[in-house]
């Protein structure tokens, strides 16, 4: 949209300029001839003007390329798959639903292909090589239907999978590499069976078993009619239950002792008369505080028979013993709100035992498959699983004990991999309509309402476009100072052009051209330059983007991260948009520069007499005074209200007003530095006062802008400071080699104040931006242990088991481990699941939330420091508070940021909400952690367990000092290979994250290096102009006895003067700005403030070196000037 506006605006401006040119052809002819008169100079001007366009173009194309890379990855990952139909959490649903969907005539007619899948995580090992891989995707596919999604590519040619026999599998190349697989190998799979989000419909029966002589009764217990201790209960099972758990406990609720020798039998008889029973022998019932008998009734089909059940409790007990029987038919509950309600209900009972069934823990299952082929691509790449095993759907269903169920159906729209996504809206509408009718036909199916259409390709493509726009925005933001520098260069160039032609312009005015004509003359000439520069700049930007893409691809290749290379993919709009934006920027700048230059005095111009320091016109007083007053009032108000943006901008407004008002009385050479000096002092002061404001949220945007203003103010002061350069010249004169050259070197920059100021501003802004990123990046290089809570190894397991210890092969040296902890870890990609103070939190890293559950034992080992605590309690007290005060929560650092990524947007004491459908849970944030490695919120385990019974586990190990975390992680994987443990050395992960952060910063600095190019180019152009302008003076110096070397030295010293001064200003302001940010934000993170002097030193050295290279040509040319020729020189 913005692109279109820019193009239209550019066309509009071009039309206006065209009309004006037609009306004043003489002016246009003059402009064209001037531009063509000196092609070399014109080329230099165009080179200077094109920088801004090049940056815009580079940012645009780099953004489009990254978007294209992600789009490409999406196409690679999904192949022909456009939509999926599944439940959140990949729960299983009946194949009837699938059949209904696939058999629908409209669906069958519309889609190119549709097929059901089962996706399930398994752990694998290859007995032949003894290699194992914990996280492998098992893919069950329908051999006939899946053919529509292409063939598996293998080294032996394409394979459609229809010939795959039972017990056979196709492995991906990634898995084959990991396990050193060959065709024919047998692979062992370990996995847990899938569970549904089951919750019990509880019915509690109580009674008392009559006492008898247990010694005379053995097992099996005699039939009920022969046993006086028999109770019979009737239970109605509602439709939809998948199985039932019955728990029988004796001695409850009175907590009486269970007599020795007690024997129990529980029998459940379904409506059809089929009985299932379990008996308990004597001795097992010694602790009556815990349930005694568990009976798990699992039906043959997917559903528990509904209707009237009979539950019979029989006992052989020595005395009358009370008992409690809990009947729990388990119902799948896919609706989160209903799920929570049931959880509350359950929480009222002692439910440890029930949880074991409901949460799905169980012993790992084992199965073997034989590798029939290894796929290198095609359908084998679908969903982008690196390590996967493809097995026939029936095999997967049998392995997972889910006959006639699947957990995903995939669809391919008409069209190819790329254009198929265009039909997504129609496809989604069709699938939703079909699903709706299927749901209506299956009122009792609890899963049906939650089986949803997911336009997976379209969603990922939208994410890709967002990422591309983000990249473009980021680069343009980072390059904004470079663009600003480019604009300053344009002003500088046009000022120099105007100065050079003063006599000519004066003559033009003398023969009747109006000021407006002069502006027109400049504009026509400028338009020619702008068009040429925008065109070349847009192309150059593309070249730059190409180099960036090549550079990034080299980094990707070096890191071996597995990311595919980024394609260089400029969109069709890149060139016109960059061209229009560049041309408009250049044109606008030239317009303002032209207006400034048109105000020349005819006589002075013709006689080449310098313009005096002008005083302002009277009307300025009437505009300036009110502006100054408004600025002053706003400044006072800003301080009272603590409004940071106004604190920065209102005094600027006041200074501008004062400048206008006082310009009628004071000379600008006095006024400008005085006001700029006051502003500079003020801005430096605000940096140290910012910590006193409450509302500093906008400071991370306005802060850098203040840095730019501070830089410009310092430049204005220094470029007006006459005594300084003279003093410096006198000091330099003391060096024998600089005796003659020192004074002219410092005097010229001082004399050409505007030009020097602009060049200094350009150079210092560039150094400011690079210096800022250098210092800012160095502030976050901290000890990784601070982000891992002192833990050394973290792990997750593919299989859900109640205790890792039960699957320990004893391969880890226990003396290396100081402690081990198990945290609950519920994660969700739903970014709206958690809000703080009513808004999303800023997440840097994967866009997901984690809810961690911790126990008290964990508190004793962890060292996750809290940066802020509610009521200023200590860290330990705050963590304790989690357990003693319900409704409190601790969050990791990212939760203090808001959606725009602003730090410290949220504070302790604010309300964090978790959103479960229509229900919301509220917590008060009592602590904010320093770490952002385990990004999430922290609650007691019990609470997390209650909220998310299906939560995963996160395992953490604290090792003895000196232990090799990487080696221990490998050993832990080996020792727990049966559960597919995936362990990583935590601190190495943090170090890698920091490295990634550093690489992003480096990329940013390199991009900002473009600004350095502008600055250096500017110096080259200014020096080139200076040599031309001062040819006669050079001749004079040579006549006077200056050697060529001395002439060179004059110019080199001049360049050095500007580079060093600009660099010092840039470095000083970047230190001040970063110190201000550190003072306001980072200080509290307890990161020390430090300036990376060696990096800064390198930066300055490189800046100086390239400046010398850029100015070498004109300087050498100056030295070669023949004195007689130079003295005669008239341009």
């Amino acid at each position: 949209m913005l692109g279109a506006v820019l193009v239209v605006l550019a066309l509009l401006v071009a039309t206006v300029v065209g009309i004006q040119a037609a009306r004043r052809p003489i002016l246009f002819r003059m402009a064209v001839r001037t531009a063509l008169r000196r092609p070399r100079q014109t080329a230099t001007v165009v080179a200077g003007l094109m920088i801004g366009t090049a940056i815009i173009s580079a940012a645009l194309v780099a953004g489009q390329s990254s978007s294209s890379a992600i789009r490409g990855a999406v196409y690679d990952a999904l192949g022909p798959v456009d939509e999926t139909v599944r439940m959140d959490g990949l729960y299983f649903f009946d194949q009837e639903l699938q059949d209904g969907l696939l058999d629908d005539p409209a669906v069958a007619a519309y889609f190119d292909a549709a097929a059901p899948n089962i996706l399930w995580q398994v752990a694998t090992d290859n007995p032949r090589t003894d290699l194992f891989e914990p996280g492998v995707q098992l893919v069950g596919f329908d051999p006939d239907l899946d053919v529509g999604f292409g063939d598996f590519e293998t080294e032996r040619g394409p394979l459609d999978g229809r010939d795959l026999g039972a017990g056979q599998a196709i492995a991906t190349q990634g898995l084959a590499d990991k396990l050193d697989l060959r065709v024919g190998d047998t692979v062992r799979l370990a996995y847990t069976l899938p569970v549904d989000p089951l919750l019990p419909e509880l019915t509690v029966f109580g009674g008392t078993l009559a006492g008898s002589d247990p010694g005379s009764i053995g097992l099996p217990l005699p039939p009920a009619e022969q046993n006086p201790a028999t109770d019979v209960h009737a239970l109605t099972v509602e439709p939809g239950a998948t199985r039932a758990v019955f728990v029988l406990a004796c001695g409850i609720p009175e907590q009486v002792d269970c007599p020795a020798g007690t024997r129990l039998r529980l029998t459940a008889t379904d409506p059809a008369g089929v009985a299932t029973s379990i008996e308990l022998d004597a001795g097992a019932c010694t602790d009556c505080g815990t349930p005694s008998v568990f009976l798990n009734v699992t039906p043959d089909g997917p559903r528990l028979p509904e209707g009237a059940w009979t539950l019979t409790v029989q006992g052989a007990v020595a005395a009358n013993v009370p008992y409690l029987l809990v009947a729990a038919p388990l119902h799948p509950v896919y609706d989160l709100e209903a799920f929570q309600a049931r959880v509350q209900e359950l929480a009222e009972l002692d439910r440890d035992a029930l949880d074991r069934f409901a949460s799905g823990f169980g012993a790992p299952e084992e199965e073997t498959v034989r590798i029939a082929a290894v796929t290198t691509g095609g359908r084998g790449d679908q969903f982008d699983f690196d390590e996967a095993l493809f097995v026939p759907l029936a095999d997967a269903q049998a392995m997972l004990e889910r006959p006639d169920q699947v957990n995903l159906i995939k669809f391919s729209n008409p069209g190819g991999v790329q254009d198929g996504a265009e039909g997504t809206d129609d496809a989604v509408a069709l699938l939703n309509a079909t699903l709706e009718s299927l749901r209506a036909a299956r009122p009792g199916d609890p899963a049906a309402p939650h089986v949803l259409v997911n336009p997976v390709k379209q969603e990922f493509l939208e994410l890709a476009d967002d990422a591309g726009e983000l990249m473009t925005g980021l680069l343009i933001f980072a390059g904004s100072l470079s663009i600003l520098t480019g604009l300053l260069l344009i002003i500088n160039i046009f000022t120099m052009l105007a100065e050079e032609r003063r006599a000519e312009l004066g003559m033009a005015r003398a023969v009747g051209l109006s000021r407006r004509d002069l502006v027109g003359l400049f504009l026509f000439e400028g338009s020619l330059y702008a068009v040429a520069a925008a065109l070349v700049g847009a192309l150059l930007g593309m070249a730059l983007a190409f180099l960036m893409v090549v550079g990034v691809n080299q980094v990707i290749a070096t890191q071996g991260s597995g990311f595919p290379p980024i394609p260089f993919a400029p969109g069709p709009d890149a060139l016109p948009v960059a061209f229009s934006a560049g041309a408009l920027l250049t044109f606008a700048t030239i317009f303002f520069a032209s207006r400034r230059q048109s105000r020349l005095n005819i006589v002075r111009a013709i006689r080449q007499i310098e313009e005096p320091d002008k005083q302002g016109r009277p009307w300025l007083l009437w505009v300036g005074a009110p502006l100054a007053l408004v600025g002053a009032l706003l400044s006072v108000g800003a301080w009272i209200a603590g409004q940071f943006s106004l604190i920065v901008f209102a005094p600027l407004l006041m200074a501008l007003g004062l400048r206008m008002a006082l310009a009628t009385r004071l000379r600008r050479r006095v006024l400008d530095p005085a006001l700029a000096g006051l502003l500079a002092v003020y801005y430096v002061a605000t940096i140290f006062l910012i910590g006193t404001f409450d509302n500093v949220r906008e400071a991370n945007v306005v802060g850098p802008i203040r840095g730019v203003l501070l830089t410009l103010a310092v430049v204005v002061v220094l470029s007006h400071w006459e005594a300084g350069p003279r003093w410096m010249g006198r000091v330099l004169q003391r060096a024998r080699g600089l005796r003659a050259v020192a004074l002219p070197s410092v005097a010229y920059p001082q004399h050409k104040r505007f030009r020097t100021g602009m060049t200094l501003a350009m150079f210092s802004l560039v150094i400011l931006s690079i210096g800022f990123f250098s210092i800012f990046g160095s502030l976050f290089q901290v000890d990784p242990a601070r982000h891992t809570g002192g833990f050394d190894v973290e792990a997750t397991a593919t299989l859900r088991v109640e205790s890792l210890d039960a699957y320990d092969r004893g391969l880890v040296d226990d003396s290396l481990v100081r402690s081990q902890h198990e945290l609950l870890d519920h994660s969700t990609f739903d970014l709206d699941f958690i809000t703080v103070d009513g808004e999303r939190t800023g997440q840097f890293g994967p866009p997901m939330h984690h809810v961690y559950g911790i126990d008290r034992a964990f508190l004793e080992s962890q060292e996750f420091r809290l940066l802020w605590t509610l009521d200023d309690l200590g860290d330990q007290e705050t963590y304790e508070r989690l357990f003693t005060e319900p409704g409190t929560i601790i969050v990791s650092y990212p939760y203090s940021t808001n959606e725009q990524g602003q730090d410290l947007a949220h504070e302790v004491g604010e309300t964090l909400r978790m959103h479960f459908g229509d229900e919301t849970r509220e917590y008060t944030i009592i602590g904010i952690q320093e770490q952002f490695h385990f990004r999430g919120v922290w609650l007691p385990s019990e609470e997390v367990d209650g909220l998310f019974p299906q939560a995963d586990r996160l395992y953490l190990w604290d090792l003895q000092p000196g232990a090799d975390a990487g080696a221990v992680a490998k050993d832990l994987e080996r020792t727990h290979r049966d559960v597919g443990l995936d362990a990583e050395p935590s601190q190495e992960l943090v170090a890698e994250e920091q490295e990634t952060f550093n690489q992003i910063l480096t990329a940013m600095k390199l991009f900002l290096g473009l600004g350095l190019v502008v600055g250096v180019l500017s110096l080259g152009i200014v020096t080139s102009r200076a040599v031309l302008e001062r040819r006669q003076e050079i001749g004079m110096l040579r006549a006077m006895g200056f050697t060529r070397r001395q002439v060179r030295r004059v110019f080199f010293l001049e360049v050095t003067f500007i580079v060093v001064l600009g660099a010092l200003i840039g470095i000083a302001t970047s230190i001040i700005v970063t110190y201000g940010l550190w003072f306001a934000f980072i200080r509290e993170l307890q990161y020390p403030y430090a300036v990376p002097w060696s990096e800064i030193g390198w930066l300055l050295a490189v800046a100086y070196a390239v400046a010398l290279v850029a100015t070498a040509a004109p300087i050498l040319r100056a030295a070669r000037v023949a004195p007689a020729e130079a003295l005669r020189y008239v341009e």
Partner: protein, 241 residues
């Protein structure tokens, strides 16, 4: 007085620009004697400035030889010629050619600094030189803050501050009104008398020419004739060290 400080023998200078070939000097023979003031006159384009540039070593000759104090300029490297200029010559130009960014004092200091004189000494001597030309009260002024005559006085002070053997002046009064021009001329004569420097003055002004000791008339790159002027040559013995 008979000693020639500058000798030119069969000097020619040809400018070639693309296809254009301009013979600016066509076999010039000229001796300039130490302590005399020589005026070079002639119509525009006759080669006066070219002659001055060639004799002073600012420009190379195409053929022939120029010797200055016995040194053949053609045999000197650029660096040696530059040093010679810095130590033995001074220049005064029509357009003053002061460095606009430096004050009067700093402009005058430059030749001394180039010659390696200590900055403090250079400053003192420059101040004295400016006082000699009547600008003792304008040392801190920049050229644009001075009148044309004052600027030319600064130029003269600059040309004399390092006590050169010879001063080359190209239209020194060309940009000045008659009265100021006369003042400058008087100053040059006075300095010639007091300090004994040799002056070669290119001028259009007959009065200036007439006031010199000898007048070289040029026409189309050649010396048409050399006349004696009205000026009286100084006694050089008084200035010999």
């Amino acid at each position: 007085m008979d000693e020639a400080i500058v000798q030119a023998r069969r000097v020619t200078k040809v400018y070639e620009t693309g296809r254009l070939r301009l013979e600016a000097l066509k076999g010039i023979d000229l001796d300039v004697r130490r302590g005399e003031m020589v005026a070079v006159v002639g119509p525009s384009g006759c080669g006066k400035t070219t002659l001055l540039n060639c004799l002073s070593g600012l420009d190379d000759v195409t053929s022939g030889a120029v010797t200055l104090e016995g040194k053949d300029l053609a045999t000197l490297a650029d660096l040696e010629r530059t040093k010679l200029r810095s130590r033995r010559m001074g220049f005064v130009f029509q357009s003053f050619n002061l460095l606009p960014v430096l004050t009067a004092l700093e402009n005058v200091e430059l030749p001394l600094l180039v010659a390696g004189v200590d900055p403090r000494v250079a400053k003192r001597r420059s101040q004295e030189a400016l006082e000699r030309v009547g600008l003792g009260g304008h040392v801190g002024h920049k050229p644009r803050e001075l009148s044309g005559g004052q600027q030319q006085r600064v130029t003269i002070a600059r040309s004399l501050v390092n006590e050169p053997a010879i001063v080359w002046a190209d239209e020194p009064t060309g940009n000045l009104d008659t009265e100021t021009g006369q003042e400058i001329l008087d100053l040059l004569h006075e300095l010639n008398r007091k300090q004994g420097q040799t002056y070669v003055i290119v001028t259009h002004d007959d009065a200036i020419a007439a006031s010199c000791h000898r007048i070289v008339h040029m026409e189309s790159g050649r010396i048409r004739d050399i006349q004696e002027g009205q000026g009286q040559p100084v006694e050089l013995a008084a200035f010999r060290r």
